[in-house]
């Protein structure tokens, strides 16, 4: 199968593409709802006073919350729309995070997603899209970087 996305561009043309920089505030209610939804009962994730007593600015974001920050910004699986690929033909194959500093309620987190690598397997029947998004807080400090592998089945 060829190396052309449904958009008409080749996959190689997408490698290195950076999307719009984004920025958003982390709301406490959202963080608490997220922590409750994952069954987290440690008060540093739920209660401002407990978080502050533990040295955080406010309630702490769990390790995978930054994925939600990118979802809110419309930057995660948007690369599929950009390439004209049906979401139903794709799966989230893998995910990683590296951590530099905590994300807390009240922080303003900014980032920018880019496509790092695209490769095919099985003669082009499977396309692997690797995207990466570094995040910084309101002080310009790096807080985390996240990376996703999206696998697309073709044909």
């Amino acid at each position: 199968m060829d190396n052309v996305a449904p958009s008409g561009l080749t996959f190689d043309e997408y490698v290195g593409k950076a999307y719009e920089p984004f920025s958003g505030k982390v709301e406490k209610d959202r963080l608490v709802a997220f922590s409750k939804a994952i069954g987290q009962s440690d008060p540093v994730y739920l209660d401002s006073q407990a978080a502050k007593a533990a040295g955080y600015r406010d309630v702490l974001a769990p390790p995978t919350f930054s994925f939600t920050i990118t979802l809110d910004a419309g930057q995660s699986f948007n690369v599929l729309d950009d390439m004209g690929i049906e979401h139903a033909s794709s799966v989230h194959g893998a995910q990683w995070f590296t951590y530099d500093a905590p994300i807390c309620a009240g922080d303003t987190i900014s980032g920018q997603q880019s496509i790092k690598e695209i490769f095919t397997k099985k003669g082009g029947a499977l396309v692997f899209i690797m995207i990466e998004t570094p995040l910084k807080n309101q002080n310009g400090e790096p807080v985390a970087t996240l990376g996703s592998t999206i696998v697309v089945r073709r044909g």
Partner: protein
């Protein structure tokens, strides 16, 4: 939480197992709202079937969030340096979900004492749904 010490842990040591019980539709829906991933395959049986799935599936990122807790239940989150996973299979409402971890390596890098962990999320049939790793800093 008693923090494990670098000198006292060994490759092969198991982290305390985390049993998350049975996944429910309500629990998956709560995560959909909280995480912002409202894809109908996580909320609506018919929509899931229209997408060639047997029914509603849990978000991969819900499972990864569960899996992160096996690590943050062992060391405070401030010690976590890296978390990664492969999504090997899907989880459905009614599945029992258990998270496990094990020390797979010890090393010093960049002035930090690091432990490499292998982590996995398994269902009640013993199938591995998520397989991954984490790096934590110890003292």
């Amino acid at each position: 939480m008693t923090m494990p010490k670098f000198d006292e842990i060994n490759v092969g040591d198991a982290l305390p197992e985390l049993n998350l019980g049975v996944l429910t539709r309500e629990g998956i829906a709560a995560f959909a709202h909280a995480s912002g991933d409202m894809n109908p395959i996580h909320l609506d049986e018919e929509a899931a079937k229209a997408n060639k799935l047997p029914g509603i599936i849990a978000h991969g990122m819900l499972n990864m969030a569960f899996l992160s807790r096996v690590v943050t239940g062992w060391v405070p989150q401030s010690q976590l340096r890296r978390l990664e996973t492969r999504f090997a299979a899907m989880a459905f409402p009614g599945d029992t979900v258990v998270c496990r971890g094990e020390v797979s390596g010890k090393r010093e890098d960049g002035g930090e004492k690091l432990a490499d962990l292998t982590i996995e999320l398994v269902n009640g049939k013993g199938e591995t749904l998520l397989a991954g790793g984490a790096i934590v800093a110890l003292s």
